[in-house]
């Protein structure tokens, strides 16, 4: 289906391009807006596509329903390769991305692909990292936890939802490195299949600490089962998250945001690129989107167009550096 689809889209795209040559200053408008979620239904990417697609349509920012296509595989690599190789000039297509995309691009987990092969559109928010312990843990602050790791790295097992070298792992390492733990490889990290499973094992007492996102920990924080000892945000989060201390205020200059956003095919026309950047930007500024963010524990991250492109490029560079340190 995808192939005929892209063919049809290609024809449609050409048609639109021709139409624009013909008519003066005719603004781009997608014929069949489509969002690829590079994972199965249910994950963060799927949420990003569906929620943004729905909100764009509700607010009349796109002319028709956003079609969401789940193209799972290779941790987003299948979708990335598909966009680069087969749909490079599709003007109607946007693809959900997050820190995980940047991490995998940085570590070479998408074989043969780099971030320059697509155009980065805009962010729609960020899920800041948290480090948490069980409610009955003797540890009460990030510095206590890091001191214990420094003294005896084997005594603390940290659970997270990503693989070794993945984003949840890197967040602890960023904090550890900032605190002056030189050999970050000594930090004991246990990989689980998703944040939910990792929190459960924290409650079960199998591990001593948890690294994940605010949204993953929220339910358990509300119920009092876990206590967040550090949010990896530049300043305290608004609203109900205001009680969580930041790492920065504890003297550990660690910031880790799992941003959510979109990329588009490299060959997308400038008109189409500007269109998508503007629409997503308008959506981001709306009060409806603020509500969506509040309900889902998303914190502000307002970057569009060139600014977003630069942000992604920086985060890829810093992850590359950190990864080189772990593996050296």
């Amino acid at each position: 289906m995808l192939n005929t689809h892209s063919f049809r889209k290609g024809v449609a795209g050409t048609f639109v391009a021709l139409a624009m040559v013909g008519g003066p200053a005719l603004a781009f408008e997608p014929e069949q807006p489509e969002c690829i979620a590079p994972a199965n239904p249910g994950g963060g990417w799927d949420f990003t596509c569906r929620q943004v697609g729905k909100s764009l349509q509700d607010q009349g920012l796109i002319p028709s329903t956003m079609q969401v296509v789940n193209l799972a595989g290779g941790g987003g690599g299948v979708a990335f390769a598909e966009v680069v190789n087969k749909r490079n000039d599709d003007n109607d297509l946007i693809v959900a991305a997050s820190s995980a995309t940047a991490t995998r691009l940085a570590t070479g987990a998408y074989p043969g692909n780099t971030m320059d092969q697509v155009r980065w559109l805009a962010s729609v928010g960020a899920d800041y990292g948290v480090i948490a312990v069980a409610k009955d843990s003797p540890i009460t602050s990030l510095t206590e936890l890091l001191d214990q790791i420094k003294a005896d790295p084997r005594s603390v097992a940290v659970a997270g939802g990503s693989a070794v070298g993945g984003w949840d792992h890197l967040k602890v390492l960023i904090a550890a490195k900032e605190y002056g733990i030189d050999d970050v490889r000594a930090v004991k990290y246990i990989a689980f299949d998703g944040g939910g499973e990792a929190v459960t094992q924290l409650l079960a007492g199998s591990v001593q600490a948890f690294t994940g996102d605010v949204s993953e920990a929220k339910g358990f924080v509300d119920s009092g089962d876990v206590k967040v000892i550090a949010v990896l945000a530049p300043e305290r989060l608004p609203g109900e998250f205001a009680d969580m201390p930041t790492a920065v205020e504890q003297g550990v200059n660690a910031i880790g945001a799992n941003w959510r956003g979109f990329y588009a095919p490299k060959g997308m026309s400038d008109e189409a690129y500007d269109y998508w950047v503007a629409q997503i930007g308008t959506l981001y500024a709306s009060s409806e989107w603020k509500d969506v963010m509040a309900n889902n524990g998303l914190a502000p991250l307002d970057l569009q167009g060139a600014a977003f492109e630069e942000f992604v490029s920086k985060s890829v560079a810093s992850i590359t550096e950190l990864t080189a340190e772990i593996t050296k």
Partner: protein
């Protein structure tokens, strides 16, 4: 009494015309999806998510629709298992073992009706379990650390040998093959790709749905092609006489202890995160076989062999909702999809769900009860309709099976690569059938292999490589002991059993070995 009052409120929520209609629709669509080979409950729910959202349903009705599909698919999975020897979904795998032989003996109607009743008993008891035990069972789930999970999966494999084959070595080979296939893809612990040969499509490993459809459905088509429509393989279905479509009271009474036992077992298996309905039906079947199979009739059309996995997998379906609702940790693939729906509806599952959204939770639970009765009512009289599938001659049915297999798999993943993998599995399934290697252990290996491996590695990382950590808690020691007994017993008693089986075989001239 608090609980009953809340449940009463839930029924008030569920008893609206719209919600009842949605439950009915969900049950019907679910049964059909479950019956179609390859389309399991998780795909069924996934396919209908867009429908729920386009209808603009509020959270409770949307959830009622989707959980009805879920329960319906669990019921429906048994139909093609019994009639075609192709499991409709992966938890219905075990139902083929006795259901198909029953159908071959002309007792298809009986098997379908009995399994419908067993499904009802399992799901009904599990829903009560969900009502009363949800808060408590959350604590049980917390007893399972990585070491305990590893012991649990070992238990599953240790009891595997006696299940599907008369030849233990071939069963072990099949299990090892399945485990090997499970290793393909990115290692969840370190993010390093294994056996993927740089092929990005292999990074996520082999989807067990692709493997199941290939091994079972396509190999069936290949067997049919090989015999050019002669009276073999799939054509056996032609001989099937449906027989009576209501189970006798004596038969039901005969199976009642089995249904009750396996409901409890299935429910517990469902509650454990990650174990899910497949493990529920699998453990139910093997335990029941150990417990009551004195004459070696299991695997040859014993009604209890139909009742056990069906009660077990439907109970597990209910059980899997417990950790999903109470912890936000899905107990199975389908509940993972449901979890996604909850999140999309702005409901955060977790310890506070029962206090923060009581209308959603209790309305949902009440709808499960209602859906369950609807399914029972739907499944018993409609058995006749479902058995019509058998009247379709194989030369028409087999192309349909092939078509549904291809469309179903492509519909899920949208990847032509998966189709090639599926064809590969079809050929493999055909070869393995020729060699008389059982196919069930392969699937179980693919299904459980990764979880088993990563839990062992987690346990060892936590203990700094100290292997004794695997037997450090009373729970894991208990699980290991059961595993050991389950493995050793068949070897000790196997000889006696085989002699009896030989005797039984002499008496009745029909002992067809089923894969």
């Amino acid at each position: 009494m608090d609980i009953l009052a809340s449940l009463g409120d839930g029924f008030v929520v569920a008893f609206t015309l719209q919600n009842l209609g949605l439950a009915l629709l969900g049950c019907f669509l679910g049964t059909i999806m479950g019956a179609l080979p390859g389309l399991g409950p998780s795909n069924g729910v996934a396919i209908l998510i867009p429908l729920a959202f386009t209808l603009g349903l509020p959270p409770t009705p949307a959830l009622i629709l989707l959980t009805s599909v879920y329960y319906g698919a669990m019921y429906g999975g048994r139909i093609s298992s019994i009639l075609l020897n192709i499991p409709g979904d992966e938890p219905a795998l075990m139902t083929t073992l006795d259901g198909y032989p029953m159908a071959q003996q002309g007792r298809a109607g009986e098997a379908l009706a009995l399994s419908g009743v067993a499904s009802f008993v399992g799901a009904f008891l599990a829903t009560w379990g969900l009502v009363f035990l949800a808060p408590q069972l959350v604590k049980v789930a917390l007893l399972f650390g990585p070491a305990e999970y590893f012991a649990l999966f070992t238990l599953a494999f240790a009891t595997l040998g006696g299940i599907a084959s008369t030849n233990q070595a071939k069963a072990a080979f099949a299990a090892a093959l399945g485990l090997g296939i499970a290793m393909i893809g990115v290692d969840g612990q370190t993010g390093v790709p294994r056996f993927s040969f740089g092929e990005v499509h292999l990074y996520d490993g082999i989807d067990f749905l692709v493997a199941i459809v290939g091994l079972f459905a396509l190999s069936e088509v290949l067997v049919f092609l090989e015999h050019r429509g002669e009276n073999t393989g799939a054509d056996a279905a032609k001989k099937v006489v449906i027989g009576r479509i209501t189970p006798s009271f004596a038969l039901l009474r005969h199976c009642t202890p089995t249904m009750l036992r396996t409901s409890v077992l299935g429910f517990v298996a469902g509650v454990l995160p990650g174990a899910g309905a497949s493990l529920g039906s699998f453990i139910s079947y093997s335990m029941e076989k150990r417990l009551v199979d004195r004459n070696g009739t299991f695997g040859k059309g014993d009604p209890r062999g139909v009742a056990a996995p069906e009660a077990g997998n439907n109970a597990a379906a209910g059980g899997a909702l417990v950790p999903m609702l109470a912890l936000g940790v899905p107990g199975s693939g389908t509940t993972a999809v449901l979890l996604a729906v909850l999140l999309a509806l702005n409901i955060t599952p977790g310890p506070l769900l029962f206090t923060q959204n009581p209308d959603v939770v209790w309305g949902l639970i009440a709808a499960l009860f209602i859906g369950n009765f609807m399914l029972l009512a739907m499944n018993i009289p409609m058995v006749g309709m479902f058995t019509r599938v058998l009247m379709v001659p194989p030369r028409i049915l087999m192309p349909i099976v092939a078509m549904v297999s291809f469309v179903g798999i492509y519909g899920i993943s949208g990847s032509s690569f998966d189709l090639l993998v599926m064809v590969g599995f079809g050929v493999m399934g055909w070869v393995l059938r020729k060699l008389d290697v059982p196919l069930v252990p392969i699937i179980l290996g693919i299904l459980l292999g990764n979880a088993m491996e990563s839990n062992m590695r987690r346990a060892l990382t936590i203990s700094d490589g100290d292997w004794s950590a695997l037997v450090a808690s009373p729970l894991s020691i208990g699980l290991w002991l059961v595993a050991l007994v389950g493995f050793v017993l068949p070897i000790v008693f196997g000889r006696v059993l085989r002699q009896r089986m030989a005797l039984a075989k002499l008496k009745e001239e029909e002992g067809e070995v089923i894969d």
